[in-house]
């Protein structure tokens, strides 16, 4: 029979051996999350690929590609061979088109800096909990998108007056009997000079995870309005009727109490994003010295950020943050604030943004059954040591 002393000796030695093996074991477990071009992103799902940016990476105006979030509703297609790829433009147009990537590059190229944010960013904070990817705070990024204007391509196709909505379909792979991920946007947004058929992101061709060779950019709107791996554009006489237009991606006209049922007919399709802020640094649970450089971002869909405020006393008092110089219509705005904690201890930092439409982030979320547009004050809990 093994003695207690022998057990302790054997176990201690084994723990030391396991400790020495740790890097190898870590590799064995984590190797399945070696996603090309993505750096330390939170894996909400590897199939379908859903990667979230840790908030502490949101310290630059332009989000590097390796930190830009990924949201796939379906299976990503195999990497697309440009020689085989065509973009079809059909529906309420005089001359249907079948365009190559080279054709797209002959249109005037336009650049827009815009956020893309998943409509469900923050879903994981709703109570009661709601089904869907349990995003935290980082299903958001701000990038420079380039390519022809959708408007120019539609006009070349001879857009008819009867065209009221524009539908997009990508090459993502649909499994089972799942409805394909098809959505449409109103013609007014499609004809906006900043709505793009983007072929480039941050100055380089789109990478596969972001829709190579072409994606739509519907700037300032929920991410689902920007279709990756684009293959088909169809001009419709009315809004597309499909699962991801209704019941998907709709918001109640009259939001109720948490958990309350919503009448699907009393809802509207999501369009522009709402006002929101994100505390990047200090990171959650981080220990800090008393003098802290608070940093973060704020955005408001199609509106401008006019003010970001911070509270270190539970929301009793608010101090304005300094807004960053970099500024564009659909982009996020960096902010910073130097704070000296009065004493050591635990603190909760709150941030709230206000936009040019007069909207301010609420203290409590607006509950809706799909967990969209979560935009209550952002917060991090930190420890300050003297």
């Amino acid at each position: 029979m093994i003695s207690r002393r022998d057990f302790v000796r054997t176990t201690s030695g084994a723990i030391a051996a396991v400790g020495a093996m740790h890097p190898l074991l870590s590799w064995a477990v984590d190797n399945s999350y070696n996603i090309s071009g993505k750096d330390r992103m939170v894996v909400r799902s590897s199939q379908f690929l859903d990667l979230e940016m840790p908030p502490e990476f949101a310290t630059s105006w332009i989000t590097p590609l390796n930190h830009f979030f990924v949201r796939n509703h379906m299976l990503a297609p195999d990497p697309i061979d440009v020689a085989d790829w065509r973009l079809n433009v059909a529906g309420s147009v005089e001359h249907p088109l079948s365009l190559t990537l080279s054709d797209l590059q002959k249109f005037e190229q336009h650049t827009v800096v815009s956020i893309i944010e998943c409509a469900g960013n923050g879903r994981g904070f709703f109570r009661p909990q709601l089904p869907g990817i349990q995003w935290g705070r980082g299903a958001i990024g701000n990038a420079q998108f380039s390519g022809p204007r959708l408007r120019d391509v539609l006009q070349k196709a001879g857009l008819k007056d009867s065209g009221k909505h524009v539908m997009f379909r990508g090459a993502d792979v649909v499994l089972g009997k799942v409805p394909p991920f098809i959505r449409s946007i109103p013609i007014e947004k499609a004809l906006d000079g900043d709505t793009l058929l983007a072929t480039h992101m941050n100055g380089q061709p789109l990478i596969h995870h972001h829709g190579f060779p072409c994606r739509t950019l519907t700037p300032g709107w929920v991410g689902s309005a920007s279709c990756k791996w684009l293959t088909d554009i169809k001009v419709l006489d009315k809004e597309f009727e499909g699962n991801f237009m209704k019941p998907g991606y709709r918001f109640p006209n009259h939001p109720g109490k948490p958990g309350e049922a919503i009448n699907p007919d009393d809802t509207y399709p999501l369009t522009a994003l709402t006002v929101k802020s994100l505390i990047a640094l200090p990171a959650e649970s981080q220990s800090n010295n008393r003098t802290i450089h608070l940093q973060g971002t704020a955005w408001a869909g199609e509106a401008d950020i006019t003010r970001v405020e911070l509270s270190t006393d539970g929301g009793s008092t608010w101090k304005p943050a300094k807004l960053g110089h970099d500024h564009a219509k659909y982009a996020w705005r960096l902010w910073s604030y130097k704070w000296k904690a009065p004493r050591s201890g635990d603190y909760t930092i709150l941030s709230r943004a206000t936009d040019s439409q007069g909207r301010t982030q609420p203290a409590t979320p607006v509950w809706n059954p799909s967990g969209y547009l979560y935009n209550t004050y952002d917060q991090v809990k930190i420890h300050v040591q003297a």
């Binding site: 030695g13 074991l25 070696n34 990817i133 499994l175």
Partner: protein, 109 residues
């Protein structure tokens, strides 16, 4: 000298470490209905990773809606197993359970 007890303990601790770090996306056993776990795993992971299920924290009513939606969308579930699926999911992934830990991708430039 090689000691079998040392080797076995090391192996046990190694496997425990892997289990602890990989468990966030695992489906728990169902002692009262051992076969249902494998059926749930097979049906759900035919299309998507287990993480999509394991991260949910839903009431029985919400799980019922999800299971029925997935069956409508092509999930292979024997009609005789539908209620057991809902029971398994609502017991193991209920609102009172702590949130799972999510892994991160490797570092890359």
């Amino acid at each position: 000298m090689f000691k079998p007890s040392f080797f076995i303990t090391t192996l046990f601790l190694s496997l425990s470490w892997i289990a602890a770090h990989a468990q966030s996306f695992d489906f728990p056993d169902a002692p009262k209905n051992p076969q249902i776990k494998e059926k749930v795993v097979k049906s759900c992971t035919a299309c998507h990773q287990s993480a999509v299920v394991v991260q949910q924290r839903l009431s029985k009513a919400a799980w019922t809606k999800e299971v029925d939606k997935m069956i409508k969308w092509g999930a292979q579930v024997d009609p005789a197993d539908r209620d057991a699926f809902i029971d398994y999911l609502s017991v193991n992934f209920s609102p009172d359970k702590p949130a799972p830990e999510f892994p991160r991708t490797d570092a890359s430039q």
